[in-house]
Amino acid sequence: MKSLIKSLVIVLVTAAVVHLAVILSAPNLLMAVAFKRLSAEGKMVNHMIHPPRTTEASRAIVRPSPDLAYSSCAYDLSKGPVRVKAAKATDYMSVSVYAANSDNIFAINDRQAPNGVDLVIVGKGQAAPAGTALVVQSPTQRGIVLERRLAPSAEAFAKAELARKQDVCAPL
């Protein structure tokens, strides 16, 4: 009886600890997976990538919208701040920055940045370069920048594709 209770306690305590560990680490783990996918297994870090139009075969990010043109940049601040530029848009466009714990640490859209977005992401203890108008402080060294441009039709997508060619994501 005593050993049965002891066994039950061991099982329940382990279950509770593991359950919490999975819940707490899920955002970081899922972000790590997304980082890997959006950086071509780590080969395209600090580089803006422009995947083709979202189709039923798209599996990089859950619940992609087929009506948006997504561009992304997996950033790594270990070698210094990273600059992100998004060309101006005539329709809805937004740039969001996500830390490695999945927090959306910054977001800006075309209404707030009618001439396009130009920002610098700095890590902990990194100084923002002089003259930078928009500085985003990232609590983690790694993270993801996601750009969305409205593109509900093939024509709209072609237009967004043309604009986003001027986008930049690169170390300073």
Binding site: V13, A16, V18, I23, P27, T55, E56, V62, S96, S102
Partner: protein, 296 residues
Amino acid sequence: MGGFQGLNPSRRHGHLGAIGQAGLDNTKANATARTGNENHAISEVEVHIGVFPFGLTAPCPLLSGRWVAYRWFTYKALERRRYDFLARPVAEEGQSVRAAVKLGALVLIGAGLGVGSALYMLNQGMNIGKETVQGWVGSHVSGDKSADPYTRALVARAGLLALTQAETLYFNRTTDEAGKPLRADCTYQLEGGPQPARWWSITIYAADNYLPVNGDDAQSADATRVATFAKPDDQGRWKVQVSPQKSDAVHWISSKNAGAYALTLRLYNPQESARQDFKSIAFPTVKTVSCPSVPA
């Protein structure tokens, strides 16, 4: 026999490994058998000695029953101790291995339960901490840094890299107006009016949170295409059909191969009133038009 039980090595060691157990069981059996006989013999000797002529104990201690008994006990005790000395490491090794295996098994079961329950929460707990209005489930916290660990995990699972509330409101629904789960083989009429946002869309997602794979390239309706194809009336009301096959509907979302699917409404740059109060939103409705009878 009673005295021997107290010193019985297998009793003292309790749980033993298979090897230790077998070895000690052997000894135990022998000891018990011999003890029984000797006890009997000793008492017989005692009786004999007790009735020794002249009522004296045996003149020579070698013949004394007590001495024989003493020698016997000493011998057995020594033998047992000698045996213990040899057997203990085996016994303890077996014991610790068994305890470690047991602990490992318990921890494995616990870890399995922990992972299972966490995954269950992540897969089934989508509606936790959400507000449901007219069948549309929205969250006031998605994309919010202050969200609790469960909401954060759920958002990471089903809405990683989602936008904040100021940028977008996301609503999800898995049932029709009557509250019945949406079925891939049924035909539904999606009907609504202008939405309180700069741009909106409704997208179908299969149970795996990705677009259903069916080759139809008809996964969503959005403000721009609805305005062009769905021919809204002067009140701006529009209709979109959700069904596995395209019929004569002007605007269509394909539910082919979608399984137990969900419809997601996105309101981009929503009006402040919509953000503050989901109930103020005139949500599109999802009415069942027809449903094949459920296969038996």
